[in-house]
Amino acid sequence: MYYIHAIQSMNNSDVFKQEDIHQKLVEVSENPTLVTPDFKTYIAPTALRRLSPILRMGITLAKEVQAAVDQPFDAISVGTGLGCLTDTEKFLNVIYTVEGDVLSPTAFIQSTHNTIAGQISLDLGNHSYNMTHTQNNLSFEMALIDGMLCCEEGSKNVLVGAADESIEFLNKLKPSVFDSETLFTTSATFLAISADKMESSIAILACKTIANAAEISVETNAFLAAFGLSLEQINCFVLNTNELETPANSEVFHIDDQLGFNQSSSAFAVHVAHDFLKSSTKEFALIVNRSSNNYLGLILLKNDKTHN
């Protein structure tokens, strides 16, 4: 098991540095606005001026999580579905509009692949392993699996997270690229995990990604059966699909009601499930992350507080 020692999120709900966020969720509005702290209290002005929202969120959340665990990270693993869109759009606009032989370096540097984990490492002064995973809406799951493997290899304190930002151009791509009626939003969640229990009682039991998952119920039951569990034993579901029939006595959170369309939503789903379990005596929570291209992500959380 991989214990969650600290977790923080930022999105269109007021969740940053809040507890029991499962009780504070707000439905996504027609004009979702990112709720942020004053980034200047976390990031030096000289660095802040270059950072787009996705990087500001990532660095701020990473610093808050590191402060909570009070030790540097042995590894940093981040997922993002679409990456640094603000900088990518800016860079592409410069290519098409500016006449000249040279292009602005900042937008190029920050539209490249490993920007998020790399910038977090730079800002924290962390020289250990860092990686940014990009796998559509399963990017967080991939980053989490990487983080869990780092724990298996001996890392004691691993930062795992996911971040995605919305730009107006995304709405022009619907429905040809994104088969979604919901709004695009900006969201990020970061957590510190470790194989050591310490004071934490909420653990990630397993994370699985499945391509071409035809029947959610079949895949989910098979995933749970590996731990001797069935759907009826899951106390809390955080999901983005109506395809799975959940038990009548379970707590159900539809994450897209809060986040709209965001390819890092499963990371925030972990935060919701974490806070639900932490504030209760319930034992299991399941995150079900389904996408229109038949990808399926499953993350199982256990409350170790009262059920050893």
Binding site: G100, S104, P105, T106
Partner: protein, 84 residues
Amino acid sequence: MSELKENLKAQIIEQLNLEDLTPSDIKNEAPLFGDEGLGLDSIDALEFIVLLDVNYGIKISDPSDAREIFHSIDSLASFIESQK
């Protein structure tokens, strides 16, 4: 020359995202780089090269000249004038 300097200040603020500054905050003779001035760094120097190319059609042919040219608003303006 004073109009050129004011334009340069506005362009630098926009290009380098110095959103907390106004042109009047940048002194003509003050160093742009290092702790004593605006605190700009090597990436900003690259942005200056782009700014000169795009806005004034000037290329820095010898990078070793950049330190002197980019020292202050005064030195930047003098260099641009000398290239006309």
